[in-house]
Symmetry: C2
């Protein structure tokens, strides 16, 4: 059974405050800055639960670290993520869907699913001199 605890409320609050993908550690920091005391393990546990429920999107960056973001569309989509600040654009990608289905079929594969994510440096971070501006 799901209980509503102080910690879960705090996590939801922080998640609601940002559009961008954040690591568990970042979320943990943001919680502390917001005056909430939530253990790192609890952040991980909560994100896991939310992910299972489809309430957050999860993806892995180049370093293999998991990034989370509150999910708005339940439908399948992809992301363009700034590797510096985490700013994210949700993408509809008919091209990709079509390509995947097409290629799968032509090779005799069925039940084909795909992953596709784009990482780049957004205009602002580029202007900022390619310096990592994430606040710790």
């Amino acid at each position: 059974m799901q209980r509503m605890t102080r910690q879960r409320a705090a996590v939801s609050e922080v998640l609601a405050d940002t559009e961008d993908f954040r690591s568990a550690q970042q979320l943990h920091d943001m919680l502390r800055e917001a005056g909430h005391s939530v253990g790192l393990a609890t952040v991980y546990r909560t994100m896991q639960t939310l992910a299972e429920n489809g309430d957050v999107d999860v993806l892995r960056n180049a370093e293999g670290e998991s990034l989370f973001r509150r999910c708005r569309k339940q439908v399948h989509h992809h992301h363009l993520v700034c590797r510096i600040c985490g700013r994210t654009v949700e993408l509809d990608a008919g091209v990709v869907e079509h390509w995947a289905a097409d290629v799968g079929q032509s090779h005799g594969f069925v039940d084909v699913e795909h992953t596709a994510e784009l990482f780049g440096t957004c205009a602002e971070c580029m202007a900022a001199g390619a310096v990592d501006t994430r606040d710790a």
Copy 2:
């Protein structure tokens, strides 16, 4: 400068022996079984070098572990992997490249890279009754 060492030869040999994606640890085990003594760190270093040279393909499984496989095409490409038997098809994907560049630019992102992998069930595995035959 690249030196040809006993260890690198051994790694190449083992890589040439399989079509499938293998983790560094698996490669390390395969080397030992083949009678070669190669340090784990050396396996990692070698795979890193090979990956940089485009001699092996790298992808991350669901657990975030890096998997390697000898590469036949030097050019950037993607994979269609059978989720049952691991059979892999290398794909040219001009569509995807174009889409990535296009989307990145239209959102003001620079230095855009992308990941894209397809997972499905191949015809043979489908015929075999959709039973997972991977050995643990």
